[in-house]
Symmetry: C2
Subunit: 455 residues, 2 copies
């Protein structure tokens, strides 16, 4: 009887051909002209689920694009893993920047180029191939698996939270596996253990009833743009720390062990600067770049608008000014508490002569995995077996709202096991996925089932 | 023989009819479809000049719209007055906000409604009627007069400075009279003795090479919008004073007499607040509203732009940010010196991690009349005779660039004798001119010729 690796190796070509077929379907969820393609991708995937050996596979309509739900529940008494992914893709435009057409997959230098290759068709499909390998080699799986693959991730997963709530009993599981993130570096398997939250605010400042002539009135009437700049400037001190009272109260400080682990990562600041195009990195004093991005809250202006912004000089004293300001949050900050603090603080520093409104536009909680959950150790062993190297535990500076939705609704740990690489152009032209990571990923997932059950 | 007032009174209807005819010509200099109307207005005016008794009247082409030049030089040895005005008008849009059509003059409540009524056809035409009254009543004028009426004032007087330089010998004069400003209040004749200058700057801040995801990079890369806000906030202190080193060095402080004269003016702060729509006035500590507008320099943001400014939340860390910032200047500040100071200061306070460019877009010198020039006393007497009340000496917070051009090129005092009223909608729908001020203004100008020559 061949082992799992042998099976995956000997079926590699066929598995690749299947993925190529999947990628040929332009399942662009954002565009109504692709509605049928999106539905076709869902149907195609449900058929492949049954072929791979899942016992059921359904295409379940939502108010938007359908969810594909596949199940294999033959391991009575064993843990249940829920695999989440998405079969929809980003729009491919601008088309003329693609070296090969986005929906005609092409292999160059061992990489598969196509829209959706890494985000997320390739990464979800390797989970199905892991299941297939177990069922083909051994006739059964050591765990129960549920595949929940949605078609609206690229447009905000609007119907997923409701779907989870409605199906929460059916979807009950011991862990949620998601492969939609990246590895820290080539050859270095990674598990993402933290995400930042968000509190996104809009500040609107009004001065005079309308724009005024800056000559006839300048100097005697408060200028809302100056007032806005003054308030924004007051939100951080010279050390780059946020001055909102109480802002840091709930911030879980990094332990020395965590800092040491971050320092040990192969992070090249010079490379980072070159990639971003800055001469120096800047941020909160006393923290490294990775610490600043992964583990520290921040405050950034996302947009500014006031008065005349066209070419040349117009002597207007603006009647209003607007800023969008967002804060990235870290455990254990609560986005609603932070939003209230922000609103209260802005009101307290608003200069006289202007009226200030503050609105919370969007928010999300920060997230940290609980590393004592046994699945993380199991995942680490599985990754090491597949990649020949122990994984690193990383974080991301951004937010993945569905992680919160899964954790809250299903009360199960979420494991972010990403097989993408930095620079794979997930939302840009020439998206690609390393075929080696496609193979290693399937193998790692196949091992994970065993590692979870002592197999 | 009737006196000047009797002549003007008894010809009042005809003088009004003439002005109405003038106002019917839509001489909108900004719009190419009105090019012929602009030319027609110039020709019409030249004919009226000859009818009024000027000895010559020419329509002189420029690279833009023509200048109308009329002369009466029969008072050998007497002073020469140059009257400047403009026969072009602002566009009338939005048309549906006019109670009566902009180019169909209508009289309501003793006011003449039409585009150009106060700015500046009505105000320049009363000078011609003053000349006519002298020539009709006495057969001659006690002074020499030159009318220089341009057709491009509303589009920036682009060709006037060159015209003045080219014709400087022909235009040599003892004073320049301009009626294109307003009286401080109804019934209160006014002479404008000061204008503020301008230094208009643009600040451009660059951070990363392009916009970044605020989650993946926020906290580790300088944000140009935050940096811009920080710099702008530093430009003023808590007392509303500008912090640029040396900024106030050349500011001529107000004398106690000047402050007293401003305090004596019928200025109602509550009315000002209501007009502008603010709950409180704000500005440099220690100065009144009129002092702030007329005699103190200021610094205002005129425009702000960065990142995402549409609806809702977009988590972008902007790659660039822009502000337009202008300073109003007072004697004896020099706009080029201030521009240099601003550029140097911004560079010195630019935070690390961003690249900052500063550019001077537009500048002009502040201006003050020399009140010891005898023409001001003569003008005051003439105004008092016509209006029955001594005039007030006022200033304006804005700039009138041609004032500098006249003063510099012709080396003669400029007298700003305005007969408009606040609220006459000079650049807005329903522009109007008080017919009473039209009559009083013509009378005052007629008296001025006598007052200048002891007549």
């Amino acid at each position: 009887m061949p082992d799992l690796r042998e099976y995956l190796e000997s079926n590699r070509e066929r598995h690749l051909d299947e993925l190529v077929e999947f990628l040929r379907i332009p399942s662009v969820s954002a565009k109504s002209e692709h509605r049928e393609d999106v539905a076709r991708a869902a149907g195609w995937l449900a058929e492949r689920m049954l072929e791979a050996g899942l016992r059921t596979a359904e295409v379940i309509p939502t108010a938007g694009h359908p969810v594909v739900l596949g199940e294999w529940r033959g391991a009575r008494g064993a843990p249940t893993l829920l695999v989440y992914g998405h079969y929809d893709v980003q729009p491919a435009e601008p088309l003329d920047e693609w070296t090969s057409p986005p929906f005609e997959p092409a292999i160059r230098d061992g990489n598969l180029y196509a829209r959706g290759s890494v985000d997320d068709k390739g990464q979800l499909y390797l989970h199905l191939k892991a299941v297939e390998s177990h069922l083909a080699v051994r006739g059964s799986l050591p765990v129960n698996v549920v595949f929940l693959i949605e078609g609206e991730e690229e447009i905000g997963s609007a119907h997923l939270p409701e779907f989870l709530r409605a199906q929460r009993e059916r979807l009950a599981c011991d862990a949620v596996l998601i492969s939609d993130t990246t590895m820290f570096a080539p050859g270095l398997p990674s598990i993402t253990m933290g995400l930042r939250g968000l509190a996104y605010m809009e500040i609107r400042v009004r001065g005079a009833r309308s724009d005024l002539h800056s000559g006839s009135y300048g100097g005697a009437v408060a200028n809302p743009a100056n007032a806005l700049a003054e308030m924004i400037a007051k939100l951080k001190d010279a050390d780059g720390r946020i001055t909102i009272p109480g802002f840091y109260d709930s911030v879980r400080e990094l332990t020395e062990a965590e800092r040491e682990a971050m320092r040990a990562l192969p992070f090249e600041e010079e490379e980072f600067r070159g990639e971003v195009g800055v001469a120096s990195v800047e941020g909160e004093r006393g923290f490294s770049t990775l610490e600043r991005i992964w583990a520290r809250p921040t405050l950034d202006v996302n947009g500014l608008l006031s008065g005349y912004t066209g070419e040349g000089a117009k002597t207007v004293l603006p009647g209003r000014a607007m800023a969008k300001v967002s804060m990235r949050l870290v455990p254990d900050q609560d986005h609603e508490t932070i939003e209230k603090m922000f609103i209260e603080h802005i009101r307290s520093i608003a200069p006289p002569g202007v009226a200030v409104e503050v609105e919370a536009l969007h928010g999300g909680q920060p997230w940290r995995a609980d590393p004592t959950e046994p699945i993380f150790a199991a995942a680490a062993r599985a990754l090491e077996r597949a990649f020949g190297r122990a994984p690193v535990f990383v974080r991301e500076g951004g937010s993945i709202p569905i992680v919160q939705a899964f954790q809250q609704t299903l009360a199960a740990p979420v494991v972010l096991l990403g097989f993408g690489l930095p620079g794979e152009n997930a939302h840009a032209p020439n998206e690609w996925f390393s075929l080696d990571n496609y193979a290693r990923g399937a193998e790692a997932i196949a091992y994970l089932y065993d590692e979870l059950t002592g197999g």
